[in-house]
């Protein structure tokens, strides 16, 4: 009994998240496309603690983006169990509500809506919250201030640089105070210097907001900024 306690204490020193609850629990997750010809995930198991910064690496077509989409409830598994922030995603009926409340997405190609202003793009996720338009406006401005883009609030995304667009995407991801941020190759379309700035900003947000950050990348240098790296290979997870 005593030795158990000692082992436990040693583990907490190594991993500060050891005693934290799991925010992601995946068991035997399977997903295939084209009538089973392509196995994107083939029995993946994974646990991620609340507040962790995890990077997911793997070669193209290994299933890492499929995994990220499953975590964000953008896709449904064929088999297996997936629980995110306490929601069993195979049983949750209102996945839109789940996404709105728990998830913030950052995509490789920022995916901002071109005919809306920067401010309106940040406000978009808040339409599903119960905030008044005034509060939405105030919060969006605050978030833009946080990513140092408040002065460009009224511009269109096409008038911004690649790095600035990705900072707007970060502000949008934070709009509803999500418990998890899912970033799919967030620096993939940026030059290395801008990419480093974006990563630094994401790391700051993770530390300051205590938000769980799960980032897909194929770049080992980018992955090394995370506290833990997991590898997806042939639809399976290697930790």
């Amino acid at each position: 009994m005593n030795s158990d306690v000692i082992v436990y204490e040693v583990k907490t020193v190594k991993n500060p998240y050891e005693r934290m609850e799991n925010v992601v629990e995946i068991e035997g997750l399977k997903k295939s496309y084209e009538n089973g010809k392509i196995k994107a995930l083939d029995g993946a198991d994974l646990k991620i603690k609340k507040g962790e910064f995890v990077s997911i690496i793997g070669p193209s077509g290994s299933g890492k983006s499929t995994l990220l989409n499953m975590l964000g409830a953008l896709d449904q598994p064929d088999e297996g169990k997936i629980t995110v922030s306490g929601h069993d995603l195979t049983k949750t009926k209102d996945l839109n509500h789940f996404r709105s409340k728990e998830i913030g997405f950052i995509f490789q190609l920022h995916n901002l809506i071109p005919n809306l202003t920067v401010l309106e793009n940040v406000e978009i996720p808040m339409y599903e919250s119960r905030l008044s338009s005034k509060k939405m406006h105030e919060r969006a401005l605050k978030l833009l201030d946080y990513v140092e883009l408040q002065e460009k609030a009224s511009r269109k995304p096409t008038q911004l640089s690649g790095g600035e667009r990705q900072r707007v995407a970060i502000a949008r991801a934070l709009a509803n105070n999500p418990s998890i941020i899912l970033a799919d190759e967030p620096t993939g379309s940026l030059d290395s210097k801008t990419g480093q700035i974006i990563l630094q900003r994401l790391k700051e947000i993770h530390e300051k907001e205590k938000v769980t950050l799960i980032m897909v990348t194929h770049d080992m240098n980018v992955a090394s900024m995370a506290e833990r790296t997991i590898e997806v290979l042939d639809g399976k997870i290697k930790t």
Binding site: N69, G72, L74, D75, D94, N96, H97, F98, R99, S100, K101, I103, F105, F107, N111, L112, I113, I124, P125, Y127, E128, R172, A175, N176
Partner: protein, 351 residues
């Protein structure tokens, strides 16, 4: 997008133009029915299968002698080319001019036995004729003795002349087209019209109101039916146009819809957005259509030199806008449904 707006706008413009013609006809008829001292009008019962709209002239005297009738005036209508235009002609005995509700603003009335004529104010302006001038009708010269005004555009662009002279000109003697009837004080219009209809069942019908006219004459009903048919066509064609436009718009914005889904927008909100855009689009098209319709029909009427009363009412504008919005709703439902059902991952992958 612009093409769909134009398509719907043209549909709405047609509805407005036809509506203005129909409303104008109604107003004109109402004015004519209420003109002067006539309490009701007698016309041929066209439902009896008779092709001719003419009534035997002796019916005028017979009706004049009926109980409760104070005055009955036979009216013969025709038209003749004068210069480059066509002049509407109304044949009426001089003693019955009071039934027209015409006010002689210049000159005097005509004499039944002379080649004399009075011109409506608008006709005199159009023909550039004044009192004392002459006009030639079927080779005979008629002296203009006066200029009258009724306020009714159709009558004011016509001319009134002795009944017998016009009948003779058309070689249609002892025939009239309408009989204007004025009743005695205290007499009941319904009772008198009933007794006229009873005396001449199948031959004559009476019109004391616009509703009566619509029952007796299919013409206005035909215009209204055409208007309804065109409205329906506009809804169908406009609806297809909107469906096409909105499907294209949804197609072009697949990635955007994927983003909205990824940030948690519910199906209802996405459907509402697409449907809302569709309604705004058709509403704008409706406004453009109303303007186009009014300008278009006015231009056609002035270009073709037709003496037609056009009436634009707020109700007509509301009807046109309502049709536009209905088109927007019908046309927007399917694209909105399609957008809301898009799989987010596929939508986000869309290039």
């Amino acid at each position: 997008m612009a093409l769909a707006v134009v398509g719907i706008a043209i549909g709405i413009a047609t509805i407005v133009a036809l509506g203005m013609v129909t409303e104008g006809l109604k107003v004109s008829l109402e004015e004519q029915l209420k003109a002067g001292g006539a309490d009701f009008v007698v016309m041929k019962n066209t439902s009896s299968g008779s092709e001719s709209s003419a009534i035997k002239q002796n019916r005028v005297d017979e009706i004049a002698k009926m109980n409760g009738v104070k005055q009955a005036a036979g009216i013969y209508t025709s038209s003749r080319p004068v210069g480059e235009t066509t002049l509407g002609l109304i044949g009426l005995n001089q003693k019955d001019l009071n039934m027209m509700g015409a006010k002689i603003t210049q000159g005097k009335q005509y004499s039944d036995n002379k080649n004399e004529i009075i011109l409506g104010k608008l006709a005199s302006e159009k023909l550039k004729k004044k009192v004392g001038d002459t006009i030639t009708l079927k080779g005979e010269k008629y002296t203009i003795t006066g200029i009258y005004e009724t306020g009714n555009q159709e009558i004011d662009t016509s001319a009134v002349m002795p009944l017998s002279k016009l009948q003779k000109m058309d070689e249609n003697e002892n025939k009239v087209h309408l009989i204007y009837v004025k009743i005695n004080n205290g007499a009941d219009v319904k009772a008198v019209t009933k007794s006229v209809e009873k005396s001449y069942t199948k031959e004559l019908t009476t019109i004391a109101s616009l509703e009566d006219f619509q029952k007796a004459n299919d013409g206005l009903g035909t215009v209204e039916m055409a208007s309804t048919a065109i409205s329906l066509l506009a809804i169908i064609i406009g609806g297809i146009g909107i469906i096409n436009t909105m499907i294209m718009s949804v197609f072009e914005r697949t990635r955007e819809i994927g983003v909205l889904k990824s940030v948690g927008w519910r199906i209802r909100r996405i459907m509402g957005m697409i449907l809302g855009e569709s309604i705004v689009l058709t509403f704008l098209a409706g406004l453009v259509g109303i303007i186009l319709g009014v300008i278009g029909v006015e231009a056609i009427i002035s270009f073709t030199d037709t003496a037609m009363v056009l009436t634009f009412t707020p109700a007509l504008a509301l009807k046109a806008l309502a049709i536009a919005v209905i088109v927007g709703v019908i046309g927007g439902i399917y694209p909105a449904y399609r957008a809301s059902r898009l799989a987010p991952t596929e939508a986000l992958r869309y290039e």
